[in-house]
């Protein structure tokens, strides 16, 4: 292996410090001492200039005097912590020995450390180095976590079955995840010829464990949704495993539809999930309301179950609460599900692939960012 020429080695990033103090001596002292150590130093003599320089340059660390005429250091840090561009910049306060209370207030406002005046430049340098190390380590942790979450999203999406891969199940699905690791999940499986299982589930919380758990649900569906078990039995078996494996305070709600195209019967099982919508080919759409315990919390559970005779052209919609529950209008299932019902009726004439998009756009205007994961699963008999 040959050595790379020196020009190929990226130059280390120059670290920038912003020194804010109304005393020109202090500013100059810190500038002299810190610039010798290879830092690029920006200086400000007052609050407004400090804010301006911080926003423009996003320094790696800020040394901030508390007592300044006009806008003091507290007001500056409040501003910095309220703006995304500057919120994560570590701030070290420079404070007089008599200002004990101000130290506490400084920490409350998000400062990482304080240095008592009069200070020794070497003490400042040692603290600057320490907090730069911490900040760099934290940032790289965040970057690597975000990268992992993005990989998870990819893996999670690849777990979702597409209508093309299972055309005989005759379904359409719309899936949008709010964060990198979504808490919603759907799955469709072929139990045997002409019998399919359709599941929409919603985990409490969005985090890495949630997306790992969605993979578990897919495996549990395969193991337990078989011709040996009744639909309710399958979901009960899945619940029993989830009680064992879910972390404390983690649970999920789910809606499961078991469709037998031979007997033309659809069995709906509800586990604490918003009511499914039934759109018969020749009758008005209706909500199928059922009570049912959530999954993964208790061993003895009772689920709402209903067996519905179906005919060709009938449609069923399973969906997650992200579609009907908004933190803005504080709507809850009961009222919001009525809107879902109306939307399902509205798209009656559309092919199901179009229908799911139509419902989504009717309930949540596309220009407004989503607040939760969204799943709509449409089944056509």
């Amino acid at each position: 292996m040959t050595d790379l020429p020196a020009s190929h080695i990226p130059a280390p990033k120059e670290l920038t410090l912003l020194v804010v103090d109304d005393s020109p001596i202090n500013v100059r002292l810190l500038e002299t001492a810190l610039s010798k150590e290879g830092y690029r130093i920006l200086t400000a003599a007052n609050g407004p200039k400090a804010r301006e320089l911080a926003m423009e340059n996003q320094p790696d660390l800020i040394l901030l005097d508390i007592m300044m005429p006009g806008e003091d250091g507290f007001s500056v840090i409040r501003f910095l912590k309220n703006h995304t561009a500057t919120a994560s910049i570590p701030v070290i306060f420079l404070t007089g020995v008599s200002e004990i209370e101000s130290k506490i207030e400084g920490f409350d406002l998000g400062a990482v450390d304080y240095i008592i005046k009069p200070f020794h430049p070497m003490e400042v340098l040692a603290r600057v180095r320490l907090h730069l190390k911490l900040s760099i380590a934290t940032n790289s942790l965040i970057t690597s976590q975000a990268q992992k979450l993005r990989q998870l999203k990819k893996a999670q999406t690849s777990l979702l079955v597409t209508p093309e891969s299972l055309p005989e199940a005759r379904f359409a699905a719309l899936y949008e995840s709010f964060q990198e690791a979504g808490g919603d999940f759907y799955d469709v499986i072929a139990i045997c010829q002409d019998i399919h299982g359709y599941l929409v589930a919603d985990f409490s919380g969005h985090d890495i464990s949630t997306s790992y758990l969605t993979a578990s649900i897919k495996a549990l569906m395969k193991q337990n949704c078989t011709p040996i078990y009744q639909p309710t039995e399958s979901i009960k078996l899945i619940n029993d495993v989830l009680v064992e494996i879910l972390p404390e305070n983690k649970y999920l709600t789910a809606s499961y539809a078991h469709l037998n195209r031979k007997t033309m019967k659809l069995t709906l099982v509800n586990a604490g999930h918003p009511p499914a919508v039934c759109v018969p080919a020749r009758a008005p759409a209706r909500l199928i309301r059922m009570d049912g315990d959530i999954l993964g919390m208790f061993r003895n559970v009772i689920f709402g179950t209903q067996v519905i005779p179906v005919g060709p052209g009938d449609r069923f919609y399973l969906y997650s609460d992200g579609l009907v529950e908004s933190s803005q209008d504080r709507s809850v299932w009961s009222r919001a599900s009525e809107r879902m019902l109306g939307a399902c009726e509205e798209v009656r004439g559309m092919p199901i692939e179009e229908a799911v998009k139509g419902i989504r756009n009717m309930l949540l205007p596309p220009e407004i960012p989503i607040e939760d994961d969204i799943v709509i699963l449409a089944i056509e008999i």
């Binding site: 001596i25 002299t32 001492a33 007089g96 009069p118 020794h120 430049p121």
Partner: protein, 104 residues
């Protein structure tokens, strides 16, 4: 006699850098002392306190102890509203700063 080399060494600085800082200190402190005289004339305790605080910080950081102590006394008395005892403060400060200037 002020030992600039020693003071510079205490702060981990080169003597030349320290002398430059001292020159800046003398210049700004002379200006601050004028402000202090005016604030005392106006009986503005708040302004006296702020100016004394500024001088105190700078002198403390550079290791000019006599000036640091004078400014500390000034800040403390001003914060208690005792401006009468501070009548001679500007002159005392000026004397110390002039001594420093001569030593440069």
């Amino acid at each position: 006699m002020t030992d600039f080399k020693q003071l510079a060494g205490d702060l981990g600085l080169e003597t030349a850098d320290f002398l430059e800082l001292t020159a800046l200190f003398i210049q700004t402190t002379m200006r601050d002392i004028e402000g202090l005289e005016k604030a005392l004339e106006d009986q503005n305790a708040e302004a006296v306190k702020d100016i004394a605080h500024t001088i105190k910080g700078a002198a403390g950081n550079l290791g000019f102890k006599a000036i640091y102590i004078l400014a500390t006394v000034g800040e403390k008395n001003a914060s208690e509203g005792k401006l009468r005892v501070l009548a001679s403060l500007p002159a005392a400060l000026k004397k110390e700063v002039t001594t420093l200037q001569k030593a440069l």
